[in-house]
Amino acid sequence: MQRTWPTLLIGLGLGVLAGTMIGWFVPVQDVSVGLDKLHPDYKADYVVMVGAAYAVNGDWDLAQARLGRLAEPDPAAYVALLAEQYIAEGRNPDDIRNLVRLAAHFGYITPPMQPYLQTSGTGQ
């Protein structure tokens, strides 16, 4: 009888641990998330695609709405920082141009962006 309670508690603890792990890895509710929860790398690629789409359709309102979905506190600064990061890392020039195009429309033009700004345009 004296060993009953410790055994029960050990079993209880193991059970709680197992139940929690199982519950988290096999959820019953919809745990899908929004674009604001994307990994930073995917967020960056998303912004590049927004820039590419803007280059094709010239719809600035739509581009802004799409950037807003990322829930960044300052989308303009985020895009400008991303553009400078891509420039510093020597990324795909077309991606950089798409980012610079967005940043320029927000009013962010820095010296590293200048070469890419001269070869980019807005709209179609």
Binding site: T7, L8, L9, I10, G11, L12, G13, L14, G15, V16, L17, A18, G19, T20, M21, I22, G23, W24, F25, P27, V28, Q29, D30, V31, S32, V33, G34, L35, K37, L38, H39, P40, Y42, D45, Y46, V48, M49, V50, A52, A53, A55, V56, N57, R66, R69, D94, N98
Partner: protein, 278 residues
């Protein structure tokens, strides 16, 4: 031990499922909710229109964790097309779906590979008064066209020139009354979806597409008339308009009051006889 374990298991599940469910952060696109996945797919297709880098588009779509990415994009293209979404977006989705090897319904109108055909000269066909009409109808004046902004360079369906090969006015029991039923067939006698149909009456018009009721026929579309209006039907730039379709009252063979239903069949002139399948 076992009893404790089972109790703990239940408690752990309750905690993980309802009290503190998992919240994902820093996810890949496969964890996005359905609506945001569609936004993502649309962006991939619009980005594809800039560089036509198919490998990159495929890599982006594969992050969704779906096996059939071509089918996924085609399904979204067709949904957007049937909803009447923005033409740019439908075009982007359709072009990417085709590049991935799919054949979306929307490709009949928004294909990135179709070559525009020359347009036949337009003429007006005015119908004689319907035989079942019980009232005298004066021909409607030519409707004033509603200003219509054409979509950007849509591809014309690769269908031979169409002509009205059959027009029947029907008044019978057990059949929907007061409808304009349009059937469009190709030279093989197959129903053609995604053909734009414009119905005009007075100063109004409505645009829709064949194929929205595939259970009837892939080339079928219908429109509900109102009584005492006179309608004209035009297949966009592919056939001569048909005018004088009147929402007239009629009497069925069983003596019931009803409204005329018109059945219009469009097909290449080389096709002589066709019977719509319902």
């Amino acid at each position: 031990m076992l009893a404790g374990f089972l109790l703990g298991l239940i408690g752990g599940l309750i905690y993980a499922w309802f009290l503190n469910p998992v919240k994902w952060v820093d996810v890949a696109p496969d964890r996005l909710n359905a609506q945001d996945q569609q936004t993502y797919i649309l962006l991939v297709s619009e980005a594809y229109l800039q560089d036509f880098n198919l490998a990159r588009a495929q890599a982006r779509l594969q992050s969704l964790g779906v096996h059939d990415i071509a089918g996924l994009v085609a399904t979204q293209a067709d949904s957007a097309f049937l909803r009447g979404d923005d033409n740019h977006q439908v075009y982007a989705l359709t072009v990417l779906a085709e590049a991935l090897g799919a054949q979306p319904l929307a490709a009949a109108v928004f294909s990135g590979t179709a070559i525009p055909t020359s347009m036949p000269p337009q003429a007006m066909i005015t119908l004689p008064p319907p035989p079942f009409s019980t009232s005298t109808d004066t021909p409607a004046p030519t409707p004033t066209p509603t200003p219509f902004i054409a979509p950007p360079t849509p591809a014309v369906p690769a269908v031979a020139d169409l002509a009205l090969i059959s027009l029947q006015a029907v008044c019978e029991e057990g059949r929907a009354a007061g409808r304009i039923e349009v059937y469009v067939y190709d030279e093989m006698g197959e129903g053609v979806p995604a053909v734009k149909v414009t119905v005009s009456w007075g100063a109004s018009q409505e645009v829709f597409f064949t194929g929205l009721k595939p259970d009837v026929n892939p080339g079928y579309a219908d429109f509900q008339m109102e009584a005492d209006q006179v309608y004209s039907v035009r297949l966009d730039q592919l056939a001569e308009p048909v005018t004088g379709l009147s929402g007239s009252a009629c009497t069925t063979p069983a003596g019931q009051s009803s409204m005329l239903t018109y059945q219009l069949i469009f097909a290449p002139p080389s096709v002589q006889t066709l019977t719509p399948e319902e």
